[in-house]
């Protein structure tokens, strides 16, 4: 998946497992940028009796680099706290939850948002309520209103939301990890079968989202609103991380006796989709998760010589002869994923943030939202989409498949002619019409357990 269960270690720690990161100029509030970090992969909507929630013992962060050194200049920290009103019932709720203050809601979660700039930490909000999960028509009868009430306005024109949403990422997981099968092209696979449509594995699942909408000027390095797409100061690089305390000693009486001490240690990080998932080899994935983006030069060989690009011509015999013959470093992928795309390659666009290779989701904040977004982003002629940041509906699987298959090599090497299939690749999935909403937090209302058996 995008980054769901992407490394052996973190796959066993779901509340700290980042799944997707989005960064885009808000389509309905173009003076702001929306950052969304998703955690807890593949939530079955019917999650009772102990429904999904954020980890009280996890430090969740969204980092923004705005001066091109791949190190955070602005960090938003999210810390959660769970409250249990009545420990003597096994129930999450003892009646309908009709508001965030409902006394029949037995297990609630609140959070604190802080902003770190250099040595200065500012608490932006505390005691902020998460919504309940979407249980069903009796327990959460007006879920949309509950979730809307959990969008909090903070000083400085900031909005935040933290809670369950519908999974926005779409992918045919069942086929892709069955020896790289793309169902629409599986008639051409090494082990052929009749071509079919793709199957979206995540279509009926939820996720937990941490979303923050911030005026663009608060992310720009000099505090001004970006207006010039050619200006390097219009570009930010974003990543999310989850950290846990270095040591934990279990007591003999359950969770209340657990002792924790030491600094926070990063156990998960995410910027561009599919980087750790597809490019980084298994034995290195959890180490990659522990590192900071500015240290990514040690992983650059996996970007410049991706294993998947070697496998595609084998898995689809005769389909990718030009890719198979290409032996140069993949400087196109390095530009897209590691440094940003410099000026002069795509007319009217750049999101170059300096030569330091770092996995960051780079957003040129001076590019306005598209009136008719293309899910293929820049490959579809839409400069407001991935890899210029990432919107919730961008088809990052198709974009990255095509890029790895060679469709983007001519951006840096005009002598290369992509194979005909490169610009057609897809896993055959699409998000459907009800996956997203048009306002913050943009990811759709989560599916209810009752209605999603």
């Amino acid at each position: 998946m995008s980054s769901h269960r992407e490394a052996p270690g973190i796959s066993k720690d779901p509340v700290a497992d980042s799944t997707d990161l989005y960064a885009f100029v808000s389509p309905d509030q173009a003076d702001t940028v929306t950052l969304i970090a998703n955690y807890i992969p593949a939530e079955e909507p019917a999650g009772g009796p102990n429904f999904y929630e954020f980890g009280d013992d996890v430090l969740y962060e969204i980092h923004v680099d705005n001066d091109g050194d791949a190190k955070p200049d602005v960090t938003y920290q999210f810390r959660f706290e769970t409250q249990v009103r009545n420990p003597d019932t096994f129930l999450y709720n003892t009646g309908p939850i009709t508001s965030l203050a409902s006394t029949s809601w037995n297990r609630t979660q609140t959070y604190t948002v802080s902003r770190v700039r250099g040595d200065e930490t500012t608490v932006l909000g505390s005691g902020l309520a998460c919504p309940p999960v979407n249980i069903g028509p009796r327990s959460t009868p007006d879920y949309g209103a509950l979730a809307a009430a959990a969008v909090h306005s903070l000083p400085g024109g900031i909005k935040v939301f933290a809670g369950q949403r519908r999974e926005g990422f779409y992918v045919d997981l069942g086929s892709i990890f069955d020896l790289g099968t793309l169902r629409p092209f599986q008639n051409l696979h090494l082990i052929p079968m009749a071509a079919t449509d793709g199957v979206d594995t995540l279509a009926r699942l939820n996720v937990h989202s941490i979303a923050i909408q911030v005026p663009r000027s608060q992310l720009q390095q000099h505090g001004s609103t970006p207006t010039d797409p050619a200006d390097a100061r219009s570009v930010i690089g974003v990543y999310t991380s989850a950290s846990r305390r270095k040591a934990q000693v279990r007591g003999d009486r359950g969770e209340s006796r657990v002792s924790k001490a030491g600094p926070n240690v990063q156990v998960s990080r995410l910027a561009n989709p599919l980087v750790n998932e597809v490019l980084i080899p298994m034995g290195t994935k959890d180490f990659w998760n522990s590192q900071a983006p500015y240290q990514d030069s040690q992983f650059q060989s996996y970007v410049l010589k991706p294993e998947l690009a070697k496998l595609l011509p084998i898995l689809y015999p005769g389909v990718f002869p030009n890719l198979a013959a290409y032996s140069r470093n993949r400087d196109d992928l390095a530009a897209i994923l590691s440094t940003g795309i410099p000026s002069g390659i795509i007319a009217g666009f750049q999101n170059f943030s300096g030569p330091t290779p770092a996995d960051l989701l780079r957003l040129n904040m001076a590019i306005p939202p598209a009136s008719s977004p293309s899910p293929l982003g820049i490959l579809g002629g839409d400069l407001a989409g991935f890899p210029n940041g990432r919107r919730v509906g961008d088809n990052v699987v198709a974009i990255e498949l095509r890029a790895i298959a060679g469709a983007t090599i001519p951006l840096v090497d005009p002598s290369f002619t992509p194979d005909g299939a490169a610009s057609l690749l897809t896993d055959g999935t699409s998000p459907g019409s009800d996956r997203y909403i048009s306002q913050f937090p943009y990811l759709g209302v989560p599916l209810s357990g009752f209605d999603t058996p």
């Binding site: 190190k71 090494l190 270095k246 040591a247 000693v249 002792s259 924790k260 001490a261 030491g262 600094p263 926070n264 240690v265 080899p281 034995g283 290195t284 180490f287 590192q291 900071a292 500015y294 240290q295 030069s297 040690q298 992983f299 060989s301 996996y302 010589k305 294993e307 070697k310 496998l311 084998i314 015999p317």
Partner: protein, 102 residues
């Protein structure tokens, strides 16, 4: 391509990637972003002015090396390494007793 040669190719591709990973990992890791723990050459004398444990602070010690006498001490959000062979010797003596079931 025969099935056999395809399998060989897939095997080589995987091995090549694994070898590259090992080479990258052994090529030197840059300094961690987080500050490295400070090091004390010897544990201070006892007699703290405040009882940290009574104040609710969790204190956890991790013996890293009996040869250097290095102990990592974690308290609050802080981490410090103390190199004190005598202290480590006493801890390990207790550990040996525990291992014997004493």
């Amino acid at each position: 391509m025969s099935d056999l040669s395809r399998r060989k190719f897939l095997g080589r591709a995987s091995l090549g990637a694994a070898a590259a990973g090992i080479a990258a990992a052994s090529g030197g890791v840059p300094a961690l972003f987080a500050a490295q723990p400070s090091v004390l050459r010897a544990a201070p004398e006892s007699g703290p002015s405040q009882d940290l444990v009574a104040m609710g602070e969790d204190v956890i010690a991790h013996v890293q090396s009996d040869s250097t006498g290095a102990v990592t001490i974690l308290v609050g959000n802080r981490e410090i390494v103390v190199e004190d062979r005598a202290m480590v010797g006493r801890i390990l003596a207790s550990a040996r007793q525990a291992a014997k079931g004493a």
